[in-house]
Amino acid sequence: MSADLGWWGVPLAILAGTLRGSAPFLFVSLGECLTEKSGKINLGLEGSLLMGAMSAYAISYLTGSPWTGVIVAGIAGMALGGIHGWLAQQPRVNDVAVGIAMIIFGSGLAFFLGKPFIQPVAPQLPSIAFGSWSSSPQLESALRVSPLFILGVLIAPLMQWFFRSTRWGLLVRAVGDSPDAARAMGISIFKVRLLSIMVGSALAGVGGAFLSLYYPGSWTERISSGQGLMAVALVIFARWNPMQCLYASLLFGGAQAIGPALQSVGVDAYYYLFNASPYILTLLIMIITCSPKRTLTGVPGALGQTQE
């Protein structure tokens, strides 16, 4: 047990952090990707994340079944998404402003309803032990993977395929790129966007369930610490591409672990800098991948336009 890993602890911690910490980013960014592909921005996913975390924890505690909690978290996210989807599509309503209102509403509602659930301990989601072959307890613990994370990893290519090769995916893209053309095709823009926002918000709710039922695995009001908003930004970073959302989320999850891991092996200078490493990495990648010769590829044509 007390085997000292030394410097090997850093890559191990980054690996473990990737497997443990990236799921909330992944779910929220996939949800936002779907939402934005349909031409609306939903900043309110931070609220859905908190609401999902709260409702998952509460239901898991009340029923004793964490998986029911996950489902209810999805439904709670969907309900919040429904409000956003309806409001943001009213004439002359700005979706960013509605999104900010939804952050405040969702988190306020979660805090209000979550008061009685801070104290009790709810049953947690099980994990799959991929490291049981190893004799090192550190590796064994690092390779514990939540089935919810695997689900998220599977959703990414599925969504990619959905956008590229299915009729419905085409409809979502059409509504997001050129609403006029979509209307001419006889598609209800309102319904497509409402559904996209609701499904996206449900994914964010499931991400919240991961926070409260797996890692860090408890319900407190500070549980998200802004991860929902960061994930929304990740979508731009990932160029509205679900697979890139996956890579970006893994990068963020792993980078989160750098600061604490370096301090635990005795690198104790500049820890504020190391704690900021996810953001520094993002900036670096943005700088490397940007080019003055082309505009942002993949951005939906009608993103964020308000209807008259």
């Binding site: 952090g17 695995g217 407190t220 009001e221 500070r222 635990s264």
Partner: protein
């Protein structure tokens, strides 16, 4: 294009509305002032209304819960009515909360429990309401500089951390302890140092690994830090963050021991919880109620402006020992506790070196808890790996 006025109300309607609301506000405010001066300012001890403000949720298993438990005890005392508000940020929001406690609920005593409330918020309100007594947790009252209706109270919780360190050293097999701290400020460093000194008084080979997370409440980073330390072979974890819930739960999941802080977290870690350094605000608030009911106030000099205390004054307590604590450890901890209470044992008793090897407290010099040097601590004691920079 639709033609609609840009703003659906006329100027007259807006003016009328503004006048009406301000008139309403004024009458409410003036009416309430009359009430509070009759009830609170009279100094009658028949019904004492006390207001409590917390910065976070009142059941966070941490700092705020400790105060809320104190509040709950105070509210059961005879002749006392309490009002409380949780989740009040350290901005002008706290001024609004306190103002409505005074104006609407008639509070004559305010307990502002978060450090950042003090300057400028409590100080500004104290000048505005000279009849109301403001007690602030942790702030440094300066005679002559600050209004005389402001008082400050705090506990030397590092005494309890010293005892927790003794228990931790007994429980640890790897002789490596972990401390997850929010920021390198004097109060936090003092806890780290006392915890380490306590552990090293049992076994000088024990070391403490510190990880600073950078802020008071970052659950994901706290969990990352706890996991990293468990990977490195640390087998007792303690912390100084707002809510130790995540740290204690993660330690339990990794199968290592934990030592709590602020409040009792034994429910979160039934097998690995050793003990914990807890506040005993119930006792502190009861003492204040007693003094105020005897007619003493800050203004007439009956209540000291600075109230500090440790184990001896019962400002602190230790969580009941967990099932993993050996008899030997209990005996050593109880003995040290008795020595601290009697004043025989001084934690900062020279010679003490910092972890760079420099002597920070010379041989033969004893720093009692009240020593000002301790309130300005900026070093980590020998045996701690980590740096304040």
């Amino acid at each position: 294009m639709r033609t609609r006025p840009p703003f659906p109300l006329s100027r007259r309607q807006v003016l009328r509305g503004l006048l009406a609301t301000s008139a309403f506000g004024l009458t409410v405010k003036l009416g309430a002032c009359a009430d509070s001066s009759a009830g609170g300012g009279g100094g009658s001890a028949d019904n004492l209304v006390m207001g409590f403000v917390y910065v976070g949720p009142r059941d966070d298993y941490g700092y705020n819960q400790a105060h809320a438990e104190g509040h709950d005890h105070a509210s059961t005392l005879e002749g006392v009515t309490t009002v409380e508000e949780a989740n009040v940020p350290e901005t002008t929001a706290v001024q609004e909360s306190i103002r409505s406690m005074i104006d609407l609920d008639g509070a004559s005593v305010i307990f502002a429990t978060s450090f950042g409330y003090f300057d400028p918020h409590v100080l500004a309100l104290a000048e505005e309401y000279p009849d109301v007594q403001f007690f602030h947790c942790g702030g440094l009252y300066q005679e002559g500089v600050h209004p005389e209706n402001v008082g400050s109270y705090f506990g030397y919780i590092d005494e309890a951390q010293y005892i927790a360190g003794i228990v931790a050293a007994h429980a640890s097999n790897s002789k490596r302890l972990g401390f997850i701290a929010a920021k390198p400020i004097p109060q936090v460093l003092r806890n780290i140092n006392s915890f380490t000194l306590g552990a090293r008084s049992i076994d000088p080979s024990v070391t403490t690994q510190v990880i600073f997370t950078g802020d008071w409440s970052l659950p994901v980073r706290e969990a990352e830090a706890a996991n990293s330390m468990a990977d490195q072979g640390v087998d007792v974890l303690t912390c100084h963050v707002d809510s130790p819930k995540v740290v204690v739960e993660t330690a339990e999941r990794r199968g290592i021991f934990s030592s709590g802080y602020h409040a009792n977290q034994v429910d979160l870690a039934p097998t690995g919880y050793l003990t914990g350094a807890e506040w005993n605000w119930a006792g502190v608030y009861e003492q204040y109620v007693q003094m105020i009911q005897e007619g003493k106030t800050l203004m007439n000099g009956g209540i000291p402006h600075l109230v500090r205390g440790g184990l001896q004054e019962e400002f602190l307590k230790l969580s009941p020992y967990g099932s993993a604590v050996s008899e030997e450890a209990k005996k050593a901890a109880d003995a040290a506790k008795a020595q601290i209470v009697s004043g025989e044992l001084v934690i900062y008793d020279g010679e003490i070196k910092d972890n760079q090897g420099t002597v920070v407290i010379e041989n033969g010099k004893k720093l009692e808890q009240t020593a000002l040097e301790l309130e300005q601590m900026d070093w980590l004691v020998e045996g701690v790996s980590g740096s304040v920079g």
